[in-house]
Symmetry: C2
Subunit: 363 residues, 2 copies
Amino acid sequence: MNLSERKKGILSKVVELYVKTAEPVGSKAVVESLGSRISSATVRSEMVELESLGLLEQPHTSAGRIPSSTGYRIYVNDLMQSQNVSTDDAHEINNTLDKRIAEKSHLLDKASNLTSRLTTYPAYAMTSATGIITIARFDFIYVDSSSFIIVALLSNDTVKNKLVQLLKPCKPQMQAKLVAVFNASFTGKPEESITPALITATERAVGDTTGIVAVIAGFAIELLVEAKSIGAHIAGAVNLLDHPEYRDIDKAQRIIRYLSDVKELARLPSPDTAGEIKITIGPENLADELRDSSVVAVKYDTGGDMQGLIGVIGPIRMDYSKVAANLSYIAQGLSLLLSGSGILQLDTATKSKKIGDEEVGKK
Amino acid sequence: MNLSERKKGILSKVVELYVKTAEPVGSKAVVESLGSRISSATVRSEMVELESLGLLEQPHTSAGRIPSSTGYRIYVNDLMQSQNVSTDDAHEINNTLDKRIAEKSHLLDKASNLTSRLTTYPAYAMTSATGIITIARFDFIYVDSSSFIIVALLSNDTVKNKLVQLLKPCKPQMQAKLVAVFNASFTGKPEESITPALITATERAVGDTTGIVAVIAGFAIELLVEAKSIGAHIAGAVNLLDHPEYRDIDKAQRIIRYLSDVKELARLPSPDTAGEIKITIGPENLADELRDSSVVAVKYDTGGDMQGLIGVIGPIRMDYSKVAANLSYIAQGLSLLLSGSGILQLDTATKSKKIGDEEVGKK
DNA sequence: CTTTGGCACTCGTCTTTATTGAGTGCTAAC
DNA sequence: GTTAGCACTCAATAAAGACGAGTGCCAAAG
């Protein structure tokens, strides 16, 4: 779209004023904020043209103009100047994304809450596996004659465990046999390869009649399924109600319900590469429920075979520049914490050595 | 409070009609629903007396009556007849609280979502430790020369683990020494007893200069703290918006914000004993934010050293009888699933033996 | 002493009408 | 191409009126 500099300036001002005030902006307001001593009549005639180009629209004849979704698109692509996070926000981000957060899922929790708070919009965070996850190794820990703990180390370096209690004692030799067999037949295999046939074969191999093989196999399948499933959650959904476009309760409710569904979250727009910001404006969204909302999302690196996504949902009338800056900064923080070989420095300054300290699979 | 039978009947009808319609109830409506051929004038004079007793109130002179919070209290204590869960609801509960849900936290998640759906109100679920939790046992699993997995079995039968990566290889003998020392000095102790002094002593005992003892001790403290902390979460907060008393966005927002704070959830009213239903009506709530809402909660048994709480928050104009019935039923289901020695029957009917199958500490 | 029909009165809700004012489009002049 | 001027539009707000559900009170009946 080829716009004169003056039209660009006017479009920008309309967007910015509208974002700030949530009221249609009139020619007079544009003149004032534009500074140049152009008259309101001139602005009006320019606005007529911008409207016929489909970049502005009028709620009704005697009101000011508001940007159309293509207007926002032009603004976001060509006109908007990227800004940096405010120092206050940067401070808060740095404080919240502390190195000492041990638990990965807590970290995402914190990050999405933080994002929501800073942007005043609902924020969502997701992680998903990029590659195939398998079990790298099994171990059994003897507890007493009728119970033991299965520990499984996954290919993405997470550890899972399960306490198994038997009604009938199980001899240590049997346990040793089980570990050997499971390590031989169940490791390095994706979930699909753990078939009933394999399980039956294993039962025969160890001479199991108690069903314990089936239990362990079930556990293996379960944790592989869980590991490859995407984990998504949303924070600060109530924040939507702060914004005038969601004062209509039914509308707000519809969209919050939509966002509460993890499956739908997984379908939200996603940037192609890590660090990239993806902005999806109003009708550009595929989901009907999001037709009059916008989504800003950024992908980040977690290292290993996982990738993460963090984003916000808000009204089309959104301060894209600020939101993008915050998201970027937070994503960078997450990348730093989660990837980078996973080695975090110990916080006890007196120690002379660094110790790797990646927390996984705990609950 | 000594009320004539007729007054009791009128109060009941006012409550029930108001709960159903959300409109002030007039004398005529009471007569109709009461069936007996009493006249509306009589009802009116009775209502005047009920009002002077503080059980009914009038929004304005020319409107019907609504129950006051003490009116509700009388109704709940003396007048309300307890009902059973509807067969539809019972079905849904049975289907949702499936034995095969492996993960405890998922179970609570499901339960609170279910509760919210059935009651149409936000539901919260909590668990907390009743006794002192200690570490029963440590084990280390060797992964490679520079990493191993710590597995800790807690006194409440949950298992936690952590993958530790070292910058410098650690000899197997050292690992063995560490296990022995930790099992000797850190087990059976509550979190408070794991003092810096103990840690330093342990470091000296094993001759550790790498800080690894501190890491493991930190892990121990962390998981004890986590285990004894209450876990609370809320489901279906949006549901509030369905109800006319929360059409006022600011009000709805205030209360949802309040409920989003885990610390506040922990302070919600709680029944004394398992199975008991606790109903807290409007101003009976200590929290200002809940002054015009009611809370219905039930405690359930989880076996072991833990106890659970599940409840809903809704308008004072709530169908207490139905909500109580649903909560009771759900709590029973949870008790059954979570306690009872934790032995769940295998669902593979072909197996001849039952296998203990308590899932713990996995994530 | 309780119950009831009757009736004037109250007061929130809904509908109608009037007023206001921000912002526009158009036109004629610069 | 730009601008001042002006009539026009239309949502938003306010004021006025009509409506009606429900009440309180009273006098008469049981």
